[in-house]
Symmetry: C2
Subunit: 657 residues, 2 copies
């Protein structure tokens, strides 16, 4: 492939890029908001990124605090709404304690505090007269909330709780914003009253003085140290926290779901506990949205670099570099529509909950858990794949990719470890199959399982390449794969001596069944999004191509699933591969424009390889010269550690080796 | 799974761990050498690792220079051999310019210089009176040496070459040790004489003054800036280099293969050019060895942490965490034996070359290219998999895993991009099939292809689980998979309008065929290593189990290949899965002891999670408290950037949001 400029590539686009930008942004208003904030940040010297430079941790934290303070000043001065403020923080592109204060601490108060408590705490939090974090996980207890060891023991004599950390493993560990900034923490602890353990509840605990920021008596608080990457989340003060007989007033228990009376009596409120799950759906939706943004960012860099790169000709052994990027490009779009669908799922679910209808909860819980897991795992791997596709230069910080990977990858672990989440989906699938025909028919994303008898018996009818691009054919294939894998697991588990042992032995297969279920959902949501009118020349057509690429690249990479279950023949998989190659040819000329539609500015991308103008080599070169080590021609350390070697004056005996 | 201590786990080992250590180390002498150097480094305060701390780049470089100088002092004082010196540097565990000087610059002189040139340069290099690097890749030309643009034009009037960098893309870019330290570089440039271009040749160019270390006239040299990770290769001064009419004497051309006379006449020597490939085999062997060491290191951490971790019970949804580690453990062992076999392949190849027999070159080239590619890709992914299996704590620098990943992953790109290498293997396979029956029968690792007619017609005969653990059955299955995939590719390419287009369109399938070929080699080398006597109670038995786990985990993860080619039925894949589960049960009690056999010290591992004693939580806690940000209770930046927010004194208008 000869060298091509990005301008040439752009001239070949077969669709209206501006219209696609609107689709990607989720509407005109979103697009404009994003553009406004992107510009504001890029033009403000206070927000300049020096991400090429290695700082000490303290320098990096201080830099982050400075940006957060400046952002807060702007937010107030310009009277930003919460949405505008959030968008501003996103464009600053440097995680900080403020993300946790606004994104977790405040929502937790809204969700778990009584109206009276909200009236007390929200004004303080909104004005940042206090800064808060969410202290749930403990050093020895990451994913399993029920095993937390921190205790809050009610003491009637003081009308309060005594909070304690009984073991090293019970140390609160990971909360963002805790280590160096927060004045308050929402602490999850085991509620003990009248000698009885009522399980895990949330309490607001002040941890630092509002006068001088010193930790309060009985509190041990510190930063947990450095993390993956040279920047990434090192700009956040993830912290540790220990309590030694810390007293808090009784009213600091978040009492929306349950209260403790003055006498120490534990009383449930009439608010259904299931409401807490609503927040979880919302968080998972945001995570899937972020997955699409992050994958889109990596794909933008890799597609643009791939187009300008001085390629080998085919004869030199490097054909079609770009085609490996197309499934990732399609996946970014798939997750975008998935995230939009999850937004409406959230609204629908909350509407049901408000009518005290919790019947959809198991299905919604399983579906969102699985989608979070699949979307984040695929995105983390996809970012790294994009990085490797950029060759050696992808290893440079100035490519923007190493930090993107390091900052993205914890999403595979937080809000539920991805493996554990998929096993939860599997449990739901097994239960659903078990109760089929008992009158409790599956609904929503699992409704297809009602049709399991047909799905396991009728094999695929694809006879030629073009049969593969029918939405009905694709949906049915993914349904059949998922139903068959789930049924195989159920059979395997039923044959085990106990259900637990069966579940444990089948874990690998269960993960496969869950993945199949989730990928079915993603494929069908992408197809669903294309059933409506989409304005703009060629826009819908491009999305249709991407949707088919997404689905067929799954058919071919997961060919083992389809063949193991007998749904497809090897010949049908070959037809899918062949159809996929045709689709690659169709998308090739549009790839650069399809990443332009993500509308990332050069400032935000922060990548020499992903520049809009394609001026890659000069940019890499100029970035290198900015490295502080290049400030002097002769390096620091020369006189002490290099000259003595060269001059053979090191140590005692410089005999030849 | 309840909590188990490592001591308990160790008591269950069914083999002699000390004997396994000898096997892993490749003999008693290697084991002792390793232990001696490990101890020397761990006990020397100069080599203490402060890898938990974020340093500025300049601090990190200076720290690295200091350690390199101290190591050089020790090497001289203790009269270390080259092997001892290399082992010492490995245990320092911080990449430096010295690795490139000893590992690339000196070997290149040995391989490409004439005897007279070696007599001049080697003593200078051995005493480090000069420090050198290897400047081949250019900013715009990574993998394709033939396209390099740097020129060395012979000038008879000065009896020398004028070296120039004609474009930005021609800037030398990446060489380790170049940016800040090297005084000399072996520069690859296009040799021009008498108006003719003789292609790429190597020249020694002095780039810095031996008096004051300033760059010489006409030389632009600098560091290329920061790279992936907070440390990793940031301790190496990868550099950029440009030439503006730099004159070097004619004798600085490395003239083993060709010379230029005083008159500017280009003359081939009688040394066969193929000799250069011998060095490549040796380098690839080392890369595969490193793959086994690096994967073993990650697996050690993950297996130990997995054993001590406070696990969920099965009922909480997290069964069998450890079993996902077993294939990675088996892979580490597989690569160890592969590396040992590649050592003898290297000796055999060099022996042939010395007899002017280059007939095995294409096969050896393809095989080692493919093994480098598969081993490094799998290891990089495996390290990241281990990191994720450690949950959130794997994201902490103190787990040792983030830096291990960041320092390992460039091996997927250097010495040949892994995708390009696999496509080279594919080209070899296609050529081999093409010439089958023409009298030029394939040999060595490709000999099985002579049997292609039978391999594509006879299907697998496995009828029960235990059939799967026969070496003959396994070898035949991998041969059949590889032969069938290769033949499918050949057919697909033959059907294309041109061979280049066919090759390009089939690239995805060709990568699959190459992978199959390489995995066959790895499986058979592992089995081959077990054909000899192996002393020590239970040692051979454990290795046999690991070998079967390695092979069968490939059968199940690559089930799509086996099914697509019709060699296996879905039922036979199920039998393989079931056999694999049995093997997991057998290896489970030995896993901790199998990683103990890698013999990594706590100092070298540098991981709170991978400690020998399993005291994980206390170690994480203590490491956190050492972070410099915890030196004061109130953070730097509080007064300027946090207090004004809390006190509502920031900026002009602090109106409520």
């Amino acid at each position: 492939m000869e060298m091509k400029t990005l301008a040439q590539e752009r001239s070949k686009a077969e669709f209206d890029v501006e219209a696609m930008k609107v689709v990607w942004a989720g509407g005109e208003a979103s697009l404009r908001l994003n553009q406004r904030m992107a510009e504001l940040v890029a033009n403000d010297p206070e927000f300049q990124k020096d991400s090429r430079v290695m700082q000490t941790r303290s320098e990096l934290l201080k830099d982050t605090f400075r940006k957060a303070a400046h952002a807060w000043e702007l937010i107030n001065k310009l009277h930003f709404t919460e949405e505008e403020a959030r968008c501003l923080r996103k464009h600053i592109d440097q995680p900080s304690y403020a993300d946790l204060h606004w994104g977790v601490f405040i929502p937790a108060i809204k969700g778990q505090a009584t109206d009276a408590q909200q009236k007390k705490w929200l004004p303080l939090a909104y004005s940042q007269a206090i800064i808060g974090c969410y202290a749930q996980t403990e050093l020895g207890h990451g994913s399993n909330v029920q095993r937390l060891e921190t205790t809050a023991t009610f003491e009637p004599s003081t009308d309060g709780f005594i909070v304690n950390t009984p073991t090293i493993a019970a140390t609160k560990w990971w909360p963002g914003g805790l280590g160096k900034v927060s004045t308050h923490a929402i602490v999850h602890a085991r509620l003990l009253t009248n000698g009885k353990d009522y399980g895990i509840h949330a309490f607001i605990v002040q941890i630092r003085s509002l006068e001088d920021h010193q930790p309060l008596p009985g509190i041990t608080v510190a930063d947990i140290g450095t993390k993956f990457g040279s920047r990434a989340y090192n700009s956040v003060d993830n912290g540790l926290l220990r309590f030694n007989n810390v007293h808090i007033p009784r009213e600091n228990m978040l009492m929306r779901l349950a209260t403790v009376t003055k006498e120490g009596k534990y009383v449930h409120s009439n608010v259904p506990t299931q409401l807490a799950y609503g927040a979880m759906v919302n968080v998972r939706k945001s995570i899937v949205m972020d997955a699409s943004y992050s994958l889109a960012r990596a794909v933008t860099i890799a597609v643009r670099y791939s187009a300008v790169r001085r390629q080998f000709g085919v004869q030199d052994g490097q054909p079609e570099m770009q085609s490996r990027l197309f499934p990732l490009l399609a996946t970014a779009y798939a997750y975008r529509f998935l995230g939009q669908w999850m937004s409406s799922l959230y609204s629908d679910t909350m509407a049901c909950f408000e009518n005290n209808d919790f019947s959809t909860l198991p299905e919604v819980h399983a579906c969102t858990a699985g989608l979070k897991s699949i979307a984040t795992s695929t995105t983390a791997d996809g970012i790294e794949e994009c990085r490797k596709l950029c060759g050696g230069h992808g290893y440079l910080t100035s490519s923007g990719l190493p930090d993107l990977f390091a900052v993205y990858v914890p999403s595979c672990t937080y809000e539920g470890d991805n493996v554990i989440l998929l096993l939860q989906v599997a449990r739901y699938l097994m239960k659903t199959l078990k109760f089929l025909g008992s009158g409790k028919e599956p609904s929503g994303t699992a409704a297809y399982l009602s049709n399991v008898t047909e799905l396991v018996s009728k094999n695929c009818e694809v006879a030629k390449e073009s049969d593969w691009i029918s939405p009905k054919t694709l949906r049915y294939a993914f349904e059949a794969r998922s139903a068959r894998l789930a049924l195989k697991c159920a059979t395997q588990i039923a044959a085990a001596s106990t259900q637990d042992e069966g579940f444990s032995e089948a874990s690998c297969e269960l993960l496969g069944a869950s993945r199949a279920h989730c990928e079915l959902i993603i494929v069908t949501r992408f197809m669903g999004a294309l059933e409506r009118e989409i304005p703009g020349r060629g826009v819908k057509n491009q999305l249709q191509i991407l949707c088919n690429i997404y689905a067929l690249s799954l058919v071919t990479t997961r060919a083992g699933d389809f063949l193991m279950t007998g749904y497809l023949s090897p010949e049908q998989v070959e037809l899918a591969k062949s159809q996929l190659r045709d689709l690659f040819k169709k998308v090739r000329h549009n790839a650069v424009s399809l990443v332009d539609a993500f509308d990332y500015t050069d400032f935000y991308l922060g990548s020499s390889l992903g520049r809009y103008d394609g001026n890659v080599y000069e940019s890499l070169y100029n970035e290198a010269l900015k490295d502080p080590t290049n400030a002097s021609a002769v390096t620091e350390g020369y006189t002490e550690f290099i000259r003595p070697i060269l001059k053979q004056q090191l140590g005692t005996s410089m005999s030849r080796l």
